[in-house]
Symmetry: C2
Subunit: 214 residues, 2 copies
DNA sequence: CTCACGTGTTACTTGCGGTAACAGTAGCCT
DNA sequence: AGGCTACTGTTACCGCAAGTAACACGTGAG
């Protein structure tokens, strides 16, 4: 049987794969999301066809690359989410974890969310919709699950929790994206503002009376 | 003076421009967001360089195309947002307006948000980050302004309102995107769920006691 | 020794965005 | 009238990136 040999070679292949991914990571961080397959292959010290043998096409490489970061981020979020603390505290910790991650590695973040906006002639890229969506979807689904597990929402809780999961993730993402671009306030303030929003402060606030021109 | 002639020709150019945009619209709706400049030119009955003379580059065409739809959507949202009604009603109307729009024209929506995911060899596209962001940004800014105008948030209201504007838009967008893909419930239910979230139901709900494995 | 197989290469095709360089046509000026 | 300008349109091309075919080297098994 060749099982032993096969596993041997598979290990070798896996190691190469990891090396290639790390090289791709370096290139993406340096050249921005518009990195070409040629550039990645060069960084890895090899040539294009090998990349294609390992990852099929550019989407495959991207997916593998995204999965690494996505998994790491999701794990951090899960930790914040599952901490034994008050709900508000957990929510703030989760928001802060996410925002800290995108603040610490904006290049990675931009790669995952908005590929192809780095280089001079820029685009020439692949697709984001096919990959960024999965990241947000996964986050939304996970959060939905956690909400359903830990919060008592009465009937239809499953549906409601999923809606909220995706909605909250989207809120976090959009606000984070905007914040990262404009930096209008500190991270802590942003976290607090968003938590306040989730805590119903919009409903609780009063109308402004002396509105303009009404 | 050649002002008359100039305006004359400008009008002609504007008409052509509109025709080209409509052709582009048709192609994008048919071929998905991966439509090539050649295809658009062919649909318009002309050839590529004319498109480039009118729009500069693909980004220009995309921006013009996006602006049409974006403006229309924003106007509808403004109407729902500025209606003379209770706040919760206005919020629900706005959410419903947005969701109805993306439900009615999912192709347009997918083009604006996730270009390049239609065709078989798909990508080969331009960038979305540079264009979808502006749409969400504009919506977030507008909503933030309205919130600041109409809701009494105490000190720091400007900042808070902007954060909330972007956050709520992101929530709406992510939930709508997910909903559009999976259709897990009716539009009305989704609107209600999201409004409930904004109304602080997350904070108000109790913990689930018999959690699994804790 | 040879044969299969995995790793690597060069050299190519295809298809895109984008750009010259050229051709026809309308109106204006003298 | 006849030429000048300005616009619209074309064909043919460049550059570049994704993806592929075909060939070359090394190595362990029979």
């Amino acid at each position: 049987m060749d099982t032993t040999q096969r596993t041997e070679q598979q290990r070798s292949a896996d190691r190469r794969r990891r090396e290639l991914l790390e090289a791709a990571d370096r290139v993406v961080l340096r050249d921005g999301p518009g990195a070409s397959m040629n550039a990645i292959a060069a960084e890895a010290g090899i040539t294009k066809p090998i990349l294609y043998r390992h990852f099929g096409d550019k989407g495959g490489l991207y997916a593998a690359l995204a999965k690494r970061h996505t998994d790491a981020l999701l794990e951090a979020l899960r930790a914040a989410l599952d901490a034994p603390a008050e709900r508000r505290e957990r929510v703030e910790a989760t928001l802060d974890t996410y925002l800290a991650a995108i603040e610490a590695r904006p290049q990675v973040y931009r790669f995952l969310m908005h590929p192809s906006e780095g280089g001079p002639q820029s685009d020439q890229g692949f697709d984001v919709g096919l990959h960024s969506a999965p990241l947000l979807r996964r986050m939304g689904e996970e959060l939905g699950k956690v909400i359903e597990e830990r919060v008592d929402l009465g009937p239809d809780s499953a549906q409601l929790a999923r809606v909220w999961g995706h909605g909250i993730v989207g809120m976090m993402h959009a606000a984070g994206d905007w914040w990262l671009g404009e930096r209008p306030c500190s991270r802590a303030e942003l976290v607090r503002s968003l938590a306040d929003l989730l805590w119903g402060r919009l409903a609780a606030a009063g109308d402004k009376v002396g509105g303009p021109s009404f």
